[in-house]
């Protein structure tokens, strides 16, 4: 009986509630800005202008968005299977190794082929790094949260070793590989559009953006239109129903983790092949962790994830602009604002729900057919 009372139409759960959460985050952020003696309204203005107000800013925003789409989708796929994969950071790191190996050693091939191979290698390495925790969870019951965290550290240590001792070219002091050949770099968006006669400002935005859009579509198809997705969701919601239906939770755990890791690995395509053009330390820069918030805010749906990724992309770019314009609002302040958004949109997701539910039922008391 009481379950009927917390049913809300989709436009409220997907529209009104996220908006209120966001608003709350900005109100609290505004108070913090006020506290350090700046004008919050002006700060919001700069933030929005910085993210969307000029061509280069939009480019940066979409470049960050690309990263968040990948890590958000990665978390979402595992989450649909009931797995809390917080190892996207490490999986993306290893994905970078895969992409870099292709770009460094197969650069005699034509660019489209290198791109395809690099994408495949990034996916394979990311999937491999996620496979191990998935396997341990499935066969040994080692908790995925613990193992994926540990694998982040292992990935980090491994990459330091490789970059310092193995992959750095002789005589170079920085722990990074040589810069890739021109032929092994993904074209920037401004370059690609220039070929077809469209002129846009320079930014790190590159063709990987389209890969991100494609991944959104593919993940949607996978989860809601395929047998595998059906099984993933069954395991995620009800392992006992999965056992009843003859679906192997162990098998699905390993598969979902591998897909998740592959998606995380694509982050490296954007960063390594698209922007940095070399493998370097810590290029994942926390995108993997923010991806968790992106997926939670986007309700593990590709469309929601895209918009949540866009929001965080805008926060990154607009925030950078803000700390540039307002020296009192430091880079750390911007992180605080992002943290508040994560707090309200992710952790406190249901804070306003009871009030909204009550208000909705008061304003729209149209009795639905009772379940009795």
């Amino acid at each position: 009986m009481s379950t009927a009372s917390d049913q809300l139409p989709r436009w409220i759960t997907l529209g009104v509630i996220p908006f209120l959460n966001l608003l709350a985050a900005f109100v609290v952020s505004g108070l913090v800005v006020l506290l350090i003696g700046e004008d919050p309204i002006e700060a919001v203005g700069i933030l929005i202008w910085g993210a969307f107000g000029f061509g280069e800013g939009v480019g940066y925003t979409l470049y960050y968005t690309t990263n968040f789409v990948f890590t958000g989708l990665a978390f979402a796929v595992a989450f649909h299977c009931g797995l809390f994969n917080i190892g996207a950071e490490g999986q993306a790191y290893l994905g970078g190794l895969g992409a870099a190996l292709v770009c460094l050693h197969l650069d005699f091939l034509p660019l489209p082929l290198i791109a395809l191979l690099a994408i495949a290698a990034a996916a394979l390495f990311g999937a491999g790094w996620a496979f191990v925790p998935g396997y341990l969870q499935a066969k040994r019951g080692s908790h995925i949260v613990i193992t994926t965290i540990m694998f982040n550290f292992i990935a980090s240590a491994l990459m330091v070793y490789l970059l310092v001792n193995v992959m750095a070219p002789p005589g170079k002091m920085a722990p990074e590989t040589r810069t890739f050949d021109e032929s092994a770099r993904l074209p920037f968006m401004h370059a690609a559009l220039e070929w077809i006669g469209i002129d846009i400002p320079q930014s790190p935005l590159n063709l990987t953006f389209f890969l991100a859009l494609l991944c959104c579509l593919l993940v949607w198809l996978l989860i809601w239109r395929t047998r595998l997705g059906y099984e993933i969701r069954t395991v995620g919601i009800s392992p006992s129903a999965a056992a009843y239906a003859g679906i192997s939770t162990a098998r699905l755990t390993v598969i979902a983790m591998a897909i998740s890791g592959a998606l995380a690995g694509f982050l490296a395509v954007n960063e390594i092949m698209g922007v940095q053009h070399r493998l370097l330390l810590d290029f994942t820069a926390g995108y993997g962790f923010v991806g968790i918030a992106v997926a939670l805010m986007g309700r593990s749906h590709p469309v929601g994830i895209f918009f949540a990724a866009l929001l965080f992309g805008a926060l990154y770019q607009g925030g950078a602009e803000l700390s540039f314009e307002k020296p009192k609002i430091t880079r750390e302040m911007v992180v605080v604002i992002q943290g508040l958004v994560i707090l309200f949109a992710g952790a406190l997701e249901h804070m306003f729900r009871p009030q909204i539910t009550a208000l909705y039922h008061r304003l729209a008391p149209s009795p639905k057919p009772s379940e009795a």
């Binding site: 009986m1 379950t3 049913q7 047998r227 129903a241 239906a245 639905k368 009772s370």
Partner: protein
Amino acid sequence: MTASAPAIELRGINKSFGPVHANKNINLSVENATIHGIVGENGAGKSTLMSILYGFYQADSGEIQVDGKPTRIADSEAAIAAGIGMVHQHFMLVEPFTVLENVILGAEGGGRLAGGMGKAREELERLEREYGLDVDPDATIESLSVGAQQRVEILKALFRGARILILDEPTGVLTPKEADELFKILHVLKEQGTTVVLITHKLREIMAATDNVSVMRQGEMVATRKTAETSMEELAELMVGRKVLLRVDKTPAEPGDEALKVENLTVRGGRGVLRVKDVSFNVKRGEIVGIAGVAGNGQSELLEAIAGIRHAEAGRVLIEGQPIGVKDSADPAILRERGVAHVPEDRHRMGLVMPFEEYENSILGYHNAQRYQSGLLLNLGVIRDDAMDKIEKFDIRPPNCRLKTSNFSGGNQQKIVLAREIETDPTVLLIGQPTRGVDIGAIEFIHRRIVELRDAGKAILLVSVELDEIMSLADRILVMFDGTLVGERAGGTATEGELGLMMAGIDGREAAQ
């Protein structure tokens, strides 16, 4: 307090949960020192009404009078103060504590336990004597039988001075004998002046134990009758709102070839406890074999092992003479291919994925079938057409395959599972608790379908803790106690008393005497 004032008088009670009007303008008068039954289908509003009386919920409007005095019951403490005690369906006892410790819980009386304990022991012994409630005050709860634990719950309420006792589905966990004992206790309580409100969905108990009975339907109190002046048929009709066939109409079984054979099956349950011990039986085509027993005697594990969900430790299972892997290679998917369909005991946990849309659940376990694939993707067109087909055949309401499964009522959810399992035309059908939490109207439908399947030559294994259901459906009845089969009876000839003895562990041969 005047002698003529009713113990409880409810006037115009209303309670809504959002759009659901759970209690509509309820009037109820429970006479002093009587046993008053309240019946109704699931979701009729019985539990809500009792929760209001016990202070868990507040009514939106209406008045409660206890012993003729208007009373506001804000929480369960206020209810206890007004002399109302409640025995919940699931016991609220601390298992490692003794009976005495449990009884004084929340009424310890002072900082030092010893003083209160002494007085409490005297009081407890007085209550036990007075009401004939026999329990050792120093026994721990976990060492007591379920029936004795229930007596502790009643003692707890009496110890707090309850003069009005509400029992919510008290016989669900009891053997028939324990249930009879409970009713005897309730009669003694009544003689001593206690008022008892008995909530149940079992009409037989209403007829056996109560003085008056009130019927609820869809949130309304539709009738109150003197029990002596009504019948089960009338009550069932009042509950459902139309005529209901309580008896299952069926012809004698015509058993054919052996379809399912279980040989020396041994199964371990959770925590490694042996739950099924060397069990052997068979089910032929065209017969319904029922397994009776009090919940928790290994029936669930037996059913799950045959269905391939739980690995068996020893023994084997044969379908039409061919062995299937139930030991190391147990796999429900293979069993489905071999023609074994399974309606699980717990549809919420196993039979359905509650947040899925109806059509998604209509293929659970059969989602690998070729006709549901279209290249790499699922063929949603075919799946939804099939779902709508089953919805029509099984009269599932509302007829909408895009609705979330949790939004269907219990009876319709069960029909979703049944439709899925029956429509694949299985050889063997395993059914666990087919009508648990299902309303009377749907029970009639489900029972009819099961008999139809039998007549179509299917072998049906039925596990149910509802003895009535086993007795009216099964052609052969096996009784399970503590993991073994203690006896077998033919469906038509078994008596409830005899089965009840076997369910309590008395061997079949002894029970016959």
